[in-house]
């Protein structure tokens, strides 16, 4: 977590904390596809300094899937041949809600 880039000494990674206390360390750039997290990391908010975002409404199982999507998005954001991401049916409704909450809506890819 000490890895810094030239960008104001901020770490390249941030930590996402789920409601039930699971922590996920994610590339900062990969979380850019979420409006909510991007907003948290901007504007000199506490989260921007500590690099630790607590997501009080999302539990670990769902956040894990969200984090998987972050990396999936990060990996394929500039590609045209994108494979589908697997989403288990039992989580899809909660993921819809979480995606809406995090502002992970259709964007210019």
């Amino acid at each position: 977590m000490d890895a810094t880039n030239g960008n104001g000494g901020a770490s390249k990674y941030i930590t996402l904390v789920s409601k039930d206390g699971f922590e996920f360390v994610v590339l900062r750039e990969a979380t850019l596809c979420s409006d909510y997290i991007r907003g948290m990391l901007r504007n000199n908010m506490t989260e921007a300094r500590t690099g630790r975002c607590e997501l009080q409404d999302i539990n670990g199982v769902i956040l894990e899937k969200v984090v998987e999507y972050f990396h999936y998005w990060y990996k394929y954001r500039d590609r045209e041949d994108v494979p589908d991401m697997e989403i288990p049916v039992e989580n899809c409704l909660e993921l819809v809600v979480a995606a809406d909450y995090l502002g992970m809506d259709s964007k210019p890819h």
Partner: protein
């Protein structure tokens, strides 16, 4: 015994080897004595390893007749006395025999109950892993008892007709004027298995042929396109004249064998853009009746494309393919009809997010709203410009990608992906109601419901990048003139072939000439091509 439940009496390590092992040389028997495990510690007492419980699987069991004295076990496992009172056996079991390991053995075979047969499952330790209890999640759907759809009396009559046709191998299925308000998939599904009676003549080899199904559903009250039709690959004639259809599904383009489509006199506001591809590419498509309908009209008819080249440019970059028609080299036989469309105008693009919230100033009239003569007039936009709402622009800039590209890349959004999975799940119909319950974001329920309908209707694809999208975020309408060209080849008396070519517009009336086709995109970058007149370079016609 002071051991914690649910232990049984511990087993003593045999202090001497059974006599027969040493007495029978050359016969090697497995014997517990050599590797007798240490007596189970209290912590291990929940182990279900049968060696500690049951005498029945003693490896020396088959040596009863040799008079071996069985000292370690008395009775089978259920005769063992549990140490604690809340065990299955209860308190009334006699602790006597097992409390004394030296108890005289009764030579009575205890039938094994077979309880220990499933040991693999019984000994797994999944339940022992210490996990914090899962936090409360959205309430799980109650199991929905699927109602078996009951057919209305009209549908039943239709079903009888369908079944009769399938039985007789008749390809003309006439379901018109039956008062159908809806038609269940189960009614039409048998048609997929219809096999026509093949022509059997003398000296003609028997060849099974594909059916050319003709389905007449005119003069009914259908308000929804029957989704089962989309699976009828061999449908050639489809008449839905005089119904109450409000929309045609984009998946209608799957009906590649269609030659005649009659959708006159419905409540259609626009046609799916995919119908253009069907008209232009389906071999043998020759008749299209689309008027009258309550189609959208352009407010003014000013914006013309200078020539076909501009249209080709527009189509090529928006759709990934140029103008079809004659350009496609395909054997169409001697006489044929083909349809081409001439792009005339385009509305501004309606930008929204996946949840259906419209961001742009331009907005299509609500689907439930009744169209008047003025509200069905849509404004049009110059082909050289594109109005992008401020929020969308900001977004593009915040990503450092202000330059729009027409080849969108990257995965679809998580919301759209999850929505697609939800719409395809087994009991998708019950999901929107969960989002409507307390504490849930109810604004997602309607988009999800729409996605379910779209998925049921065969799905739809992004016009620009061709990816599947159940919740399009850009939508616009293209007004096109539909022209049909008939080519008749005739051989004159002198033996020369001459072709007679007739062009005509599909409707002679001016207010019906421009037909609206709906286009959609899966991301904000999936927008129609903005033509730059200085940028148009001549494309070689194929």
């Amino acid at each position: 015994m002071e051991v914690d439940e649910p232990t049984l009496s511990s087993l003593p390590v045999p202090d001497e080897l059974p006599a027969f092992i040493t007495n029978v040389p050359g016969v090697r028997k497995r014997s517990r004595g050599y590797y007798a495990p240490p007596p189970p510690s209290p912590g291990m007492s929940s182990s279900s390893d049968p060696a500690y419980f049951s005498s029945d699987d003693d490896p020396a069991l088959d040596n009863y007749l040799q008079g071996r004295r069985k000292r370690r076990y008395v009775g089978s496992w259920f005769d063992q006395v549990p140490a604690s009172s809340d065990s299955v056996m209860g308190d009334d079991a006699d602790p006597g025999p097992s409390s004394n390991p030296r108890h005289k053995r009764h030579l009575k075979r205890q039938p094994d109950s077979g309880v220990w047969v499933g040991q693999d499952a019984a000994t797994d330790t999944d339940g022992d892993i210490d996990l914090p209890p899962l936090a409360a999640r959205l309430p799980l759907p109650l199991p929905v008892v699927k109602r078996i759809p009951r057919l209305s009396s009209e549908e039943q009559r239709a079903q009888n007709v369908v079944l009769a046709c399938v039985d007789d191998g008749r390809e003309d299925v006439d379901l018109s004027q039956m008062g159908l308000a809806s038609i269940a998939d189960s009614v039409l599904e048998p048609l997929a298995g219809l096999t026509p009676i093949p022509v059997v003549e003398k000296d003609v080899p028997f060849v099974p042929r594909d059916p050319s199904l003709k389905l007449f559903l005119g003069n009914n009250q259908l308000s929804r396109f029957p989704s089962a039709l989309l699976d009828l690959q061999h449908l050639t004639v489809l008449s839905l004249r005089n119904n109450k259809l409000a929309e045609l599904p984009p998946a209608i383009a799957k009906l590649k064998n269609l030659t005649t489509l009659n959708i006159a006199n419905n409540r259609l506001r626009h046609l799916p853009g995919e119908l253009i591809d069907l008209m232009e590419s389906a071999i043998g498509f020759h008749t299209l009746n689309i008027h009258p309908n309550s189609f959208f009209q352009p407010k003014d008819r000013r914006y013309f494309l200078a020539d076909d080249l501009m249209q080709h440019e527009y189509e090529y970059r928006t759709r990934g393919s140029g103008i079809h028609g004659f350009l496609v080299d395909r054997d169409r036989g001697e006489n044929f009809t083909l349809f081409t469309t001439a792009l005339r105008a385009r509305t501004p693009v309606q930008f929204s997010n996946s949840a259906g919230h419209v961001l742009s100033k331009f907005i299509f009239p609500e689907k439930t709203q009744r169209l008047t003569d003025s509200s069905k007039q849509l404004e049009t936009e110059d082909f050289g410009s594109l109005v992008i709402p401020q929020t969308v622009k900001q977004h593009l800039e915040s990503l450092g990608d202000s330059k729009r590209s027409f080849q969108p890349k990257g995965p679809s959004s998580l919301l759209a992906t999850a929505m697609r999975v939800a719409a395809r799940s087994k009991d998708a119909e019950s999901l929107p109601n969960f989002l409507r319950s307390d504490g849930c974001p109810s604004h997602l329920a309607d988009p999800l419901e729409r996605a379910i309908v779209v998925d049921k209707m065969g799905g739809q694809h992004c016009t620009v990048c061709k990816r599947e999208t159940l919740c399009p975020v850009t939508e616009w309408i293209e007004f096109r003139e539909i022209r049909s060209t008939t080519v008749e080849r005739m051989t004159s008396a002198e033996g020369t072939t001459e072709a007679r070519i007739r062009h005509r517009n599909i409707s002679g009336r001016e207010d019906e000439a421009w037909v609206p086709f709906l286009r959609r995109g899966c991301s904000w970058a999936c927008t129609p091509n903005v033509l730059d007149s200085s940028d148009v370079t001549p494309h070689t016609m194929l």
